[in-house]
Symmetry: none
Subunit: 236 residues, 4 copies
Amino acid sequence: MTSPERSTAPSEPVGGNERTPLTPRGRRTRAKLVDAARTVFERDGFGDARIMDIARLAGMSYGSFYTYFATKEEVFGEVARAMQHEMLSASEPPTAGGDAEPAPEPPVRVYDAVVRANRRYLVSYQRHARLMAVIEQAALRNEELFRIRREVREAFVDRSTAAIARWQAAGIADPALDPGYAASALGSMVDRFGYVWFVLDGSFEMDKAVDTLSRLWVQALGMTTETRLPDRRVAG
Amino acid sequence: MTSPERSTAPSEPVGGNERTPLTPRGRRTRAKLVDAARTVFERDGFGDARIMDIARLAGMSYGSFYTYFATKEEVFGEVARAMQHEMLSASEPPTAGGDAEPAPEPPVRVYDAVVRANRRYLVSYQRHARLMAVIEQAALRNEELFRIRREVREAFVDRSTAAIARWQAAGIADPALDPGYAASALGSMVDRFGYVWFVLDGSFEMDKAVDTLSRLWVQALGMTTETRLPDRRVAG
Amino acid sequence: MTSPERSTAPSEPVGGNERTPLTPRGRRTRAKLVDAARTVFERDGFGDARIMDIARLAGMSYGSFYTYFATKEEVFGEVARAMQHEMLSASEPPTAGGDAEPAPEPPVRVYDAVVRANRRYLVSYQRHARLMAVIEQAALRNEELFRIRREVREAFVDRSTAAIARWQAAGIADPALDPGYAASALGSMVDRFGYVWFVLDGSFEMDKAVDTLSRLWVQALGMTTETRLPDRRVAG
Amino acid sequence: MTSPERSTAPSEPVGGNERTPLTPRGRRTRAKLVDAARTVFERDGFGDARIMDIARLAGMSYGSFYTYFATKEEVFGEVARAMQHEMLSASEPPTAGGDAEPAPEPPVRVYDAVVRANRRYLVSYQRHARLMAVIEQAALRNEELFRIRREVREAFVDRSTAAIARWQAAGIADPALDPGYAASALGSMVDRFGYVWFVLDGSFEMDKAVDTLSRLWVQALGMTTETRLPDRRVAG
DNA sequence: TATGAATGAGCTTTCATTCAT
DNA sequence: TATGAATGAAAGCTCATTCAT
């Protein structure tokens, strides 16, 4: 919408402060509205969400909504950006999702890294499932949301693409695969599995799901659960 | 508006063919409306689709719409059911999608069967991509659509589940995998890949996509592209 | 707004048929709405006029208003155009307003022609006074209305300008005057007099008003109430 | 909202100086608001003017507006009264506008006095054109504004009426004219000419406009640009 | 049947005004 | 006094649905 990515400024990660001006009280009220909006959007989707429901849930009159946001799109963008931020930051920390690189100590199983990344992703997905589905809908009709959705996806896929290429270079992954295609496919697998599980209410169990997905992931690439990155000191 | 009591038939959520006309002319008119509806729903989504657009596209006044359908939900259900039918029938013919069984002649590569199934699926997906996305949205808020969506999915997953179990029994697939989990995951992979490709406009190429997905599929299950079903006459 | 002058098509003089489609019934309804709109606009002005009041006065629900007009501006344009048409046509017939023109028979008093024109103008003004005032307001904020207002004015002023120039050429009007300035000033005099009289409720009497204005008019131009156009056959 | 009960003082329609602040600071703040209000009203008209714009332009929060004025009508009345004052005072000083007044020295051309008055009026009009147009609109729906508008007009017309009567008595103006009608008509001429010029953006040039209007004015009354008031000492 | 006029629930948005701080 | 958050009456407009012809 109006405001550009604010990815560089970690202190104001969510952005979209069109009607920013705030006293402490105002800030609290605004936050309440964003929270309420998220709940309502998750429940009703974008199109069926009513401003009045948001305001009421936030404990105020609908007029107050307009003190902070100009339109429904505006809060939605805010909510979406907040989620994007959470999803992205949740997927990096220890070892970036989908790859095994920094590998501090020599012989680490690729599988273990994949397990960690997948677990992180699914746990995060669980918390945001409904909202992501809603964003996905809305994204089909809105430029910026589409971009947000794509960025989240690309962050994962890009990382995987790089990792797969590295593994191929190291001689442990199937060289016949196109890293980009494979990364997109395997990312889709985990992503969609989360959707089926958390949104469509499939009945799965976390440990087993993580294990299955991770196994499929490494084997699909031609590795086994025991495959390790060759010791660079030796290899180099 | 959004979710009215359906006092007449709570057991018939989205609508049925109560008003099915029987004159040839009526049947043609109705068909025109369903076609037009599909186009409009694909373009605008369920919520933003307007009866008037559907009627106009079908070349008639909006009043006529109600001669054939009681509500917007009703046509949508019809459109969704038609698509479900096409998707399902498109995935069975030669050799059912996602498995390699009927295998007429003795030594056939699993990979080849998977390739055929995946290609069929993606080709079919391409034709229905937008509509499936729309149905997916609507399904979150409608019982029957949800069911339709699930049925399409289950048809694929169930077939794969059975196939995987068979391959495990035949000793060619990784016995450590839960067939249900694995089938769901691999089905998700192909399904989602299609979505990213056709709806989110990813840029892929058909042959390469089919090959990559099929490779990942068989390898994920612990097979290779050369793995064949053991000759049953011998095995038995 | 959307539709251009339709001045050439006398059969559809009012224009603005954005939602034209009409059955006889629809045509009647639309006409009722235009009538009602005029009344409401005269009473409340543009800004304070409520669509609901218009619809109610026309004896229908406000929703029906939107069957025929997309916005308040649209009906207003229609009403304004209708008035423009009446004003303009009311000022031409017998002998065009403000000038002494073609004068069929030789010795005709300029004063008599001016009297006729002024009377016609004031009578017409009386019928449209409130509405003109409202249009004038609205015109300050709307392109097309501004144009309409200006066209009505120019029709009068241009005719006067030409007449004054003719009289000067004939040697009966003060040659020191700029015809354009003088025509604008004298036109303003009659126009504004009408406003003061009919809108601000000045108390005047028709015959006396017409006589005074006409006298002032001819004398201002350096003529008297007895001045006649010289016989052209003689002059030529 | 629009016309609330004014429980405190029904006899004081538009507002008064109930809240007149007395500290120097308060007076300054209030003045800033009136100035800002004038600007905003000129730009947006009464209906579209927003309190917030006024307050912001005056450099303060909108809450402060209500420290000084109870309603939008109230500031508008203040602005209108200020303009009335300026217009009236601008038209009297040297020699009152529209008449040939106290004529200090014996033989003075009526034309010269009229020129002075008309120039003063047009110059003043130029400064107040937009605002007068706005007041005129608002006046149609508000008692007091209507009164203000009428007072400004009458001040001019009454003076002219008296002057014309004097000139008729002196034998230099056409005795057939009703002084009241003529004064209203000629006043309208100048007034409306100013409107067409400054509000409707007619293109005129000051000296020529003043000369034309003044010539028309004296000639309309049966005088010439050379007519002088007879020396009273002689006449008397 | 086909048509399109009529209806009104429902939603968004604006903004003057009130009021706690 | 000054501030700006909160309020809610009011309107405009959309569109599914009903109904007379």
